[in-house]
Point group: C2
Chain length 298, copies 2
């Protein structure tokens, strides 16, 4: 059973009963009624030793920073603002003093986004993990889901992709402000953050919308950090870019900014009615994208 099947089973078992729940499992965050004009956004994501980092390759401070940053990225992808976080930390007893360093990393990025750490817990665990629960808020009219792209919509990404493992994975600044800038110019038809990699996340958005996509390899904005050996493959599959992928109806494409304070915003392809996931090469040849690479249970 892979993550896709697990989520499908879960969705079938977890039908929400409370009327305040606008959206349960299946998007970057859950969506809950808050007041007349806003929704609450609820999300959780974890970083685990030997899965999301190796102890010898990351400082405790980097681990803490990343644990919160990946959650902020989920709130950004819904068009929201992060507000309150709870931190669940598991580590070996003898390493308890390192928790200050983890928290220093968490607070570094919490302060940048004005997030309050309102609770949490500490537990012993043979495997180090930092699990963060983040609540955000979004104006109802600015909420953007991943399952509302339409055939013909143009696909954009922010920034450059590939090679995040060289350092961006610990340094990235979640695209909260950029998402807001985009929404100010034009409300995207759908949006998702790029955590597992362009190929995998574009597919999630297209599948959730009942569509396919065609991405032009020559248009993909490849990072300087992408692998020299196969730069396109690096941009498609490396993951951890934490950029935004969003779709826009063709008539509004001219309203999409070319960059946001220097960060490029690039048209890379389009959503298709046909439910296939295609790469289009400069010579006009097309290839089906290879199986998505899930971070988890892969």
């Amino acid at each position: 059973m892979d993550e896709r099947q697990i989520i499908k089973w879960l969705k079938s078992r977890c039908r929400c009963k409370n009327r305040q729940v606008k959206l349960g499992i299946g998007d970057d965050t859950a969506v809950i009624d808050y007041n007349r004009n806003s929704y609450l956004l609820l999300t959780t994501d974890v970083v685990v030793e030997n899965v999301h980092f190796k102890m010898q390759e990351a400082t405790f401070r980097q681990i803490g920073r990343k644990a919160l940053a990946v959650n902020i990225s989920d709130i950004a992808a819904m068009g929201g603002n992060p507000l309150w976080a709870l931190v669940s930390l598991g580590m070996e007893k003898k390493k308890a003093d390192n928790y200050r360093e983890i928290y220093t990393g968490i607070l570094e990025i919490a302060e940048m986004f004005n997030i309050d750490i309102v609770g949490g817990n500490l537990s012993r665990s043979e495997t180090l993990f930092v699990d963060i629960f983040l609540i955000g808020i979004v104006e109802k009219k600015k909420l953007i889901l991943r399952n509302t792209a339409r055939p013909g919509d143009i696909i954009f990404v922010t920034g450059t992709l590939g090679g995040a493992q060289k350092g961006k994975q610990f340094r990235f600044i979640p695209r909260v402000r950029e998402a807001k800038e985009i929404i100010k110019s034009i409300k995207p038809s759908a949006m998702i953050d790029l955590s597992d990699g362009l190929a995998s996340d574009a597919r999630k958005l297209a599948e959730a919308s009942g569509c396919g996509f065609e991405i032009e390899t020559s248009k993909i904005p490849v990072s300087r950090d992408a692998s020299e050996k196969n730069r396109i493959s690096s941009a498609l599959y490396d993951g951890e870019d934490y950029e935004l992928l969003f779709t826009v109806s063709p008539e509004f494409v001219s309203l999409v900014p070319a960059d946001i304070k220097g960060l490029p915003v690039t048209n890379i392809g389009r959503i298709t009615r046909q439910k296939t996931f295609l790469l289009k090469y400069p010579d006009g040849k097309k290839a089906k994208i290879r199986g998505e690479k899930f971070k988890h249970f892969s």
Copy 2:
């Protein structure tokens, strides 16, 4: 650095800036403004392999059930109703199919309390953990904190204590309904749930309130499951009872029900101005309670 010092350091670093946050780190849950009449309650607690259970002593279903139940107990201790949960699950790849069993346990108790599972994530992890974030709601006038007990207040506990490791730790039903029944009769001055054990949790409530306590050993309602060797010690230190401890101003003691649908409610002692934590024996002798036994980093 023990958990107490860690929490102290954290509280000093995590001063909340958002005005909606009524209470951050330090109680069973965080408290956030929701609407005119209610607060949101935010809590997280985790169960970790080899710390909170051993694989050979618990089924996956029991582990899942317990992971949600301990969080519900925190909401109960604030006088609230649980509403929405997110589940963060870490397990070895080869054991992925067992996740259904974990979820079956989670859903078993979620359905009992009408809780919606609105999101979560799955990650590989060498150590199994189930980390749950639970949001609840409480009427503003019914919110009960742990730091508001006053000298002279009488201490009550629900149920019987000790020996929960014989089975109650996996079977207990969090005291949401009982908390409401108590609040209907008399609003306690303070309340906490008994997770780490009577000695430790009574001390947390008393310390948070700037007080001490005196508990009469002869009055402690000891469970049939408590250790035969030292029944009082078992009731004081075993932990995982998940009963409620609450305090009531002396003039209202007669309003406290003697039982709630058969569950005993027992007067076990009183809050003192002197910041000592005393046991009073039937012969009149008193002893300082031995150092609290924290679940974490102990």
